[in-house]
C-alpha cells in the first residue's frame, strides 16, 4: 500500500503524462472503483493548475504541463477558470483593503482635504528644543537596538536546540521498502537531512524542495553544494518546527550547464510522534 506522499506523487506524474504505462494502468483501474483516489485526483489536478499559474512547477513539470496536460480543451478551460478565480480572489482582497479607505477615490478625496486644510504641526510640543531632544533620544534607542540585533544575528544562538541527523536514501516511491520514519525530539532545533546521491559531482549546485504528502511546499533551498567530506552525500538542513507529524517528500534537482534544473532524486520520509 502506498503512503499518501507516494500516492500524491503517482497521481501527479499520471496527470502530467510522466507515469510509466503499467503504473498509469494500475492507477486508472483503481480510479474507477476507489472514491477517495478519484477525489484526490481532482484535487491534485486543481493544484497543478494553480501551481502552474503561480510559477511553482519545476522545469520538467512545466514542460509536461504545457505539452501534455493542456492538450485537451477541458484542461485549457480549467486553466482559464483558475486564472479568473485567482484574479477574482486577489481583486476581492484588494477590495477588502480598499473598503478601509484606500480606494483611488478615497485617496483623491484625502489629497484634496490635505490641500484645503491648514497643515498641522508634525510635533505636538510648542517648544522645539523638547521636540528635537525627544527625536535624538528615539534615534539613539533605535541605533542601539539595531546594533544588538545585528550582533545576535551574527553570533551562534545561545542555548539553541539540538540538531537531529537523518540519512535518507532515494527512490523508495516504487519499492516495497518501508518509508523512513523519523521522530523529532521536542528540543530539536534543526533536522539535518543527509541525502545519499550516487553521483553527487554531476552537478555543482543543487536545489531541494520539501513537500508534504498533499504536495504543499514546506521549504525550498537553492544553491546547495555537495558535502566536501563525502562523494555521495548532500546535506540539507530544515528547521525542526516545520516537520510536524506527516509524510514528506524531498525533491533534489541539480542545475545543468544551461542553468536548468534537472531532477536528481526523490526522498520519502515520515515524521511521527
Amino acid at each position: 500500500m502506498k503512503s499518501n506522499t507516494q500516492q500524491y506523487q503517482s497521481i501527479r506524474e499520471y496527470q502530467l503524462g510522466q507515469a510509466a504505462s503499467e503504473d498509469a494502468a494500475r492507477l486508472e483501474e483503481q480510479l474507477l472503483t476507489d472514491d477517495e483516489l478519484y477525489q484526490e485526483l481532482l484535487v491534485v489536478e486543481d493544484e497543478l493548475v494553480d501551481q502552474y499559474l503561480a510559477g511553482q512547477l519545476a522545469d520538467s513539470e512545466k514542460e509536461s504541463f504545457e505539452t501534455y496536460f493542456l492538450a485537451t480543451p477541458e484542461r485549457r478551460e480549467k486553466l482559464r477558470f483558475a486564472r479568473n478565480l485567482k484574479k477574482y480572489v486577489s481583486g476581492n482582497k484588494a477590495g477588502e483593503n480598499s473598503s478601509a479607505g484606500n480606494t483611488d477615490f478615497a485617496s483623491e478625496s484625502t489629497a484634496f482635504a490635505a490641500r484645503a486644510l491648514p497643515q498641522k504641526r508634525f510635533w505636538p510640543w510648542s517648544n522645539p528644543v523638547v521636540s528635537y531632544s525627544l527625536i535624538a533620544a528615539v534615534v539613539l534607542v533605535v541605533t542601539i537596538t539595531t546594533v544588538v540585533i545585528l550582533r545576535n544575528l551574527n553570533s551562534p544562538p545561545k542555548g539553541a536546540g539540538k540538531v537531529l541527523v537523518v540519512e535518507l536514501t532515494p527512490g523508495l516511491s516504487r519499492s516495497n521498502q518501508e518509508t523512513k520514519q523519523i521522530i523529532v525530539p521536542a528540543d530539536t532545533s534543526n533536522v539535518e537531512l543527509q541525502l545519499r546521491v550516487s553521483n553527487v559531482a554531476a552537478y555543482q549546485t543543487y536545489r531541494a524542495i520539501l513537500q508534504t504528502a498533499d504536495g504543499r511546499e514546506i521549504s525550498s533551498q537553492d544553491g546547495l553544494h555537495p558535502d566536501p567530506a563525502s562523494n555521495d552525500r548532500m546535506i540539507c538542513s530544515v528547521p525542526a518546527n516545520l516537520l510536524t507529524p506527516s509524510d514528506y517528500s524531498l525533491k533534489l534537482s541539480g542545475i545543468n550547464q544551461h542553468g536548468e534544473y534537472e531532477d536528481v532524486a526523490r526522498f520519502y520520509f515520515r515524521v511521527t510522534n
Partner: protein, 190 residues
Amino acid sequence: MKREWILTKESFDSLLAWLDANPDAAARKYEQIRTRLIKIFVCRGCLESEDLADKTIDRVARRLNDIEATFTGDPARYFYGVANKIHFEYLRRKRMPEPPVSVNDTDPDPDTDQCAREYDCLERCIQQLSPKNRELVLEYYQEERWAKIEHRKRLADQLGIALNALRIRACRIRASLLECVRNCVQTTAE
C-alpha cells in the same frame, strides 16, 4: 454494410440492472463510471472524451448477454477493459498526429472575449454560493506559497477540520463553480 448498434431503453435498463439491483444505486454507479471514464480519457489526452466514454458504455451494453454469463467481480473493471480497446481504436483512427500545443494555446490571453465572459460569469456564480462557501473560497485561495500553507492550516483549524478535508471541500466548491460558469457562458451565448 455493418449497421451501427444503438442503445435502446431496454438494453440500457439491463445495463443498470447489471450494475446494481437497486435502481437508484445503479443510476449512481452508472454516472460514477461514466464520469470517471471521461476523466481517464481526458488524462490520456483524448479530444473526444465524452464520446469515447459513451462508446465504451454502448459496447458493454451490446455485449451484456455474454458478459453476464461469464464475468464475475466489479462491473467497473469490465468497463475499464473495454475503455482500453476503445482508446486503442481511437489512436488507430487518428490519421494525423495531433499538432503540438503551442504556448499561445495553453496560455490564453486573459483579455480575450471568452475570458472576459467567463470572468463575468464567475463573478455571478460566486455571488450564488452560500455565504459560508463563498467565504471559504475567498479565504482558501488567498496568499502565495509559504503564506498560503500557513493560511490554509489556520483556516482548517478555524473550521475544525483536517487540512485534507479542507482541500477536498475547496475542490468541490471549485468544481461546482466551474460547472456554474460553463452553464452561464452557454446561457449568455444563446
